[in-house]
């Protein structure tokens, strides 16, 4: 059978191309003793070297003058790692090429100073003892800072009774201090007794005055001699027992509350969100029943919401993804827009401060909530190897990377599960070294999968897709051509095939989806998901230089006749 027919293939080349610029060249790196900007011991290109000082075309680690090690401040007992030899010695320090944990002088231990503790070196412990005039005790066997701080215990205090001007008086202090001789030879120490205790028969009596004490959270009653008594509790103002012996914080009023805004209880707690402060009408809700001090509420009000003291949370910025532990996939059209950043907000002492997670969304803000207390952090955006993943499981392995799988849409140059294809793709994503191909779109149809050479490998299968960054990173596309290489991964040339029937009409037979406007949007979404690519608004809502239509072009119509 002779089949007559003329098949015209109209090759309509549709291309999507993206913004690019030229990449700077990276020259040989020198170890500069100092750079022209004044930084010490940096590996920099020759044009950044201060040539009046030493420089050699090698890494600083290989030089004698900029070798990194530990700098020991033998007077203060402080060890600083990653310090160049020259910088340390010029500053008057002792330099050792070993790491600090291998240097005896830098070994840390628990230094007890009065009722406080610090996890420092032995020299530092001695120095702190000398500075603060306190007896110190260094314990090198304590292996962590938290254990050290927990080990700090206050010395037992009590009523130190003595005579002054023929009057029996009292000071609330430690036994050691009481017996030091400062209060004369005839002293009596009454452990855990308050000076206001009637049984002691001193001239110190209870008052209605209160006081805030440095390094303590609570409001304390004062006796008439100015000594501290127990934690302020208005219901105990006339309670003889409460003015006789020391009552622990845990046994004082409302020990599990911060007592902010309480007029009757001064059992404040910094970690629960309050601290002792002098009453101020503008800051405190209620006036204390006695005295001038209250537990001040340290929580914050932000955007109409109340946050507890110590809470941190991610800012609700329209142009970045809102991230929570159950965050799935974002919307590339409205999130992670060019110029946007992630921010962390911090509530401390009644004030909210803003911490940016940095430019180009190289860090993202993550947040979790435990029983209504939110904690947030800026952490690295692990987007770099997304494009190298060829299956959904690897792509969405959140322990390794921050990627998402887009079903049914493929980046070009992907040869299914071919290892070579993935490697090639990663290589291309990392920046093409071939100037002639960099930024050029790949050819393909909407259905076929092509390898890097443009050869058709296989037809699209069910379940195919693309692995793209979950939080699209930013690029400095105005000064580096790397953005061009990355964005080019989403560029595609789609060949549309038409068949002309005997009646003369044309019918699209292949690649027809490329003619639909939804295809352009789909490709642009893929493009935008890669980073600052494609057509989108920026973080302040201004449109970019190109819109979707400008990134789409038809070209090259070719006729082919096939006769059998």
């Amino acid at each position: 059978m002779k089949k007559l027919g003329v098949i015209f293939i109209f090759g309509i080349l549709i291309s999507l191309s993206f913004i690019s610029s030229q990449e700077g060249t990276i020259g040989v790196s020198y170890c500069a003793e100092r750079t022209v900007s004044g930084a010490w011991c940096q590996n920099v290109p020759l044009d950044k070297v201060d040539k009046s000082l030493r420089y050699v075309p090698t890494s600083c680690e290989a030089t004698s003058y900029c070798k990194l090690g530990t700098c020991i401040d033998s007077k203060e007992g402080i060890c600083m790692e990653n310090t160049p030899q020259k910088v340390c010695q010029d500053a008057g320090g002792l330099w050792d090429e070993k790491e600090s944990d291998e240097i005896a002088q830098c070994n840390l231990g628990c230094c007890s100073l009065g009722d406080q503790a610090a996890y420092v070196t032995q020299t530092r412990c001695r120095q702190l003892s000398s500075i603060y005039g306190l007896e110190s005790d260094f314990n090198p066997s304590v292996s962590s800072e938290s254990a050290c701080i927990l080990s700090a215990s206050s010395s037992v205090k009590g009523a130190c009774v003595y005579e002054r001007d023929l009057q029996k008086t009292c000071t609330f202090t430690t036994q050691e201090n009481c017996l030091s001789g400062d209060y004369g030879d005839s002293v009596d120490f009454h452990e855990e007794y308050l000076c206001s205790a009637e049984v002691l028969g001193t001239d110190c009596s209870r008052t209605k005055n209160t006081k805030c004490v440095e390094d303590k959270d609570e409001v304390y009653f004062l006796d008439s001699c100015g000594n501290l008594a127990n934690i302020y509790d208005s219901s105990k103002i006339d309670d003889t027992l409460y003015w006789t012996k020391v009552v622990d914080k845990e046994e004082s009023c409302n020990p599990n509350s911060n007592n902010a805004g309480s007029s009757s209880c001064g059992n404040c707690d910094y970690y629960l969100g309050s601290t002792c402060k002098e009453y101020e009408r503008s800051k405190d809700r209620v006036n204390p029943s006695y005295g001038d001090n209250v537990c001040r509420d340290l929580s914050c009000n932000y955007d109409g919401e109340k946050y507890q003291h110590g809470e941190t949370w991610c800012a609700d910025v329209e142009s970045v993804s809102s991230i929570s532990p159950d965050f799935e996939n974002g919307n590339p059209e409205s999130e992670n827009l060019p110029g946007s950043r992630y921010f962390r907000l911090v509530c401390y002492n009644g004030e909210v401060s803003v911490e940016s997670c940095g430019d180009y969304r190289q860090k993202i803000c993550i947040e979790s909530d435990i029983e209504g207390f939110s904690t947030a952090a800026c952490r690295v955006n692990k987007w770099q190897d997304c494009i190298g993943q060829d299956n959904q499981l690897d792509c969405e392995n959140s322990d390794r990377r921050d990627c998402m799988w887009i079903e049914g849409v493929e980046l070009v140059g992907i040869s299914g599960g071919s290892k070579t294809g993935v490697e090639e793709r990663e290589k291309a994503f990392a920046g093409s070294s071939d100037e002639s191909t960099r930024g050029q779109p790949f050819s393909g149809t909407g259905n076929a999968i092509f390898d890097m050479d443009g050869e058709e490998v296989e037809e699209r299968e069910e379940g195919v897709g693309s692995c793209v960054p979950k939080y699209a990173p930013g690029f400095n596309f105005w000064s580096s051509s790397e953005a061009e290489s990355i964005c080019a991964q989403a560029s595609i040339e789609c060949v549309v095939t038409y068949e002309t029937g005997l009646g003369g009409g044309k019918e699209c037979v292949d690649g027809c989806e490329c003619l639909q406007s939804s295809w352009i949007g789909e490709r642009n979404n893929l493009c935008v998901s890669l980073g600052d690519c494609g057509a989108s608004l920026n973080y302040v809502g201004v449109e970019g230089y190109y819109d979707e239509e400008a990134l789409y072009s038809r070209s090259g119509e070719e006729d082919k006749t096939d006769e059998e």
Binding site: A39, D73, M80, G431, S480
Partner: protein, 275 residues
């Protein structure tokens, strides 16, 4: 009739006299007011010199030196605090109009910073000492001159000024000695003990926290600001991420309203793969 006129005239004179008295009082008040205003202006304009002159009457050279040095030292302390511990930073990031020195810096990406000021406390002490040598010398000369004006025969042995930053204070000291003789009176200052000038400042605590943050920047490439605020109740730590990976830290003592600012660049993730 004439009598009536005389009496009226007398009354008028009385009223006039009383009016004149009141005018006089007003004039006196105006003069006193003007004198007070002029005195206030003079005191405002020449306060340091006046204060120094008062100080000499106390015959205490430490108070004299404190009054003489205090303004300059406080001014320098403020500059040093906002510039990462240096009066003239060599390598800095401009933040809020201040040259904030890098205490730790790494030009390359992805790797931890290299410490630029390993002995920060020592460096700050040297910066303060160097900045006041000249003024300190002039203050000693001025002290000598004041004593000589009062008839003393004065011997001055000038030595350098040293600085030590301690918790809550900055101590400026010198081994200089001054002896003054007049008739039976004989004073010796600084021969046995150093002459000390003590100023309230929290640079010690703030610089110690800065060192801790730098250690964290070296070890982890970043620091967690809330750790410090949990431990130090009156401390506010702000971390301001800047372009190109620079971080500016602002440490504020909320009680004293004193600040210390410094910059760091560590483990920077550039845009794209290479930046």
């Amino acid at each position: 009739m004439e009598r009536i006129f005389k009496e009226e005239k007398r009354e008028l004179n009385k009223i006039e006299g009383s009016m004149n008295n009141k005018k006089g009082q007003v004039t006196i008040f105006v003069i006193i007011g003007v004198v007070l205003v002029v005195a206030a202006i003079v005191i405002f304009m020449f306060w340091p010199q006046i204060r120094t002159s008062f100080a000499i009457s106390s015959d205490n050279p430490e108070i004299f030196l404190k009054n003489c040095l205090e303004d300059e030292v406080n001014e320098n302390l403020e500059i040093i605090s906002l510039q990462g511990g240096s009066l003239s930073p060599q390598h800095y990031f401009i933040y809020d109009g201040n040259k904030v020195e890098y205490l730790c810096y790494q030009e390359e990406n992805y790797i931890p910073c290299v410490v630029q000021r390993p002995l920060l406390k020592n460096h700050i002490e040297n910066e303060i000492s160097n900045s006041i040598q000249n003024t300190g010398g002039k203050c000693l000369d001025s002290l000598k001159e004041n004593l000589e004006k009062r008839g003393y025969s004065v011997t001055l042995n000038k030595q350098e000024f040293e600085t030590e930053i301690l918790p809550g204070k900055v101590v400026i000291s010198t081994n200089s000695s001054i002896s003054a003789k007049k008739d039976e009176s004989n004073y010796n200052y600084g021969s046995e003990n150093k002459l000390n000038v003590i100023l309230d400042n929290n640079l010690y605590e703030l610089s110690t926290i800065a060192i801790s943050i730098i250690s964290s920047e070296v070890e982890y490439g970043d620091s967690e600001t809330t750790n410090y605020m949990n431990y130090y109740r009156d401390l506010k730590v702000e971390k301001k991420e800047q372009s190109e990976g620079t971080r500016v830290y602002i440490l504020t003592d909320t009680e004293r309203e004193e600040q210390f600012m410094f910059a760091s660049r560590s483990v920077v993730f550039p845009p794209g793969y290479r930046g």
